[in-house]
Assembly symmetry: C2
């Protein structure tokens, strides 16, 4: 099962490595990981998507809670949450298919950052379902240079 874990950490040297290391040591494969600032500059929030069983994850959560510099650990998976991911990528186009590709992008509310003769640079934000739908629609085209942030999530009230 995929879990989406939100970890609030003190913005200190080496915290990221220690947290990522704990998951690796327990055999979790990290699907995505982001770490960025919060409204408090001394605190960062990590969002980690991992695949693994509930029991092992409980152990990891307990170990995380024991680490210095960890403020809170929340598994958002079973609570209501809003999640989004940001993607940047390029699509190869030519004179014949450019308008069609632009039409797909528009339909999915993707943003065209740059439109050249041979490629379109795209910015897209969506939840995992919307990301899958867009990429599925574009699968017959050649996508390159893709960068994804991985998912971030916010607990619903």
């Amino acid at each position: 099962m995929k879990h989406i874990i939100s970890v609030l950490v003190e913005n200190k040297f080496g915290v990221l490595t220690r947290v990522a290391g704990l998951f690796s040591a327990r055999g979790f494969n990290i699907n995505s990981l982001t770490v960025g600032e919060t409204e408090d500059p001394t605190v960062s929030r990590m969002t980690i998507v991992v695949k693994g069983d509930d029991k092992t994850l409980d152990q990891v959560k307990k170990q995380l809670n024991k680490l210095i510099d960890i403020i809170t650990v929340k598994d958002l998976t079973k609570k209501g949450f809003i999640d989004r991911e940001l993607l940047l990528f390029k699509i190869k186009v030519n004179a014949e298919n450019k308008a069609k590709v632009a039409g797909y992008l528009d339909k999915h509310h993707a943003k065209i950052l740059h439109s050249g003769a041979n490629s379109i640079t795209v910015e897209f934000v969506g939840d995992p379902e919307r990301v899958l739908k867009l990429l599925d629609e574009l699968k017959e085209y050649s996508i390159s240079d893709m960068v994804r942030t991985g998912r971030i999530a916010l607990a619903k009230e």
Copy 2:
């Protein structure tokens, strides 16, 4: 000086920890780090923003290139690049200031995901300058639950 490093890695167990560990070992403070999938499911791309001097960074790049599972390491800082970050957060509002806050959000092209009596949930994508401008405009309001992806970047052609 801040550097934005793009690292293409084989999507294998423990790569993230090894890469983050290398930066930590050299005394780099990681400002943000994201790792997500690419157009090739066996390959992930890490985007790392670090502060440090050019000489030490060159050493880190050399060491990264020696690691198994590292495909390419690029410092985008000195090349042209497009960078974006995604933010999710909540702002406390009340009956008096809600319309004003919504006006600010609209002006900055931020997206309102949920609008309640006491808070607005916001999605925002921008480059570092736009992110700073939005947060500056909102600084008199109480922002909470902020999650940021950290920057991702794409080299220009």
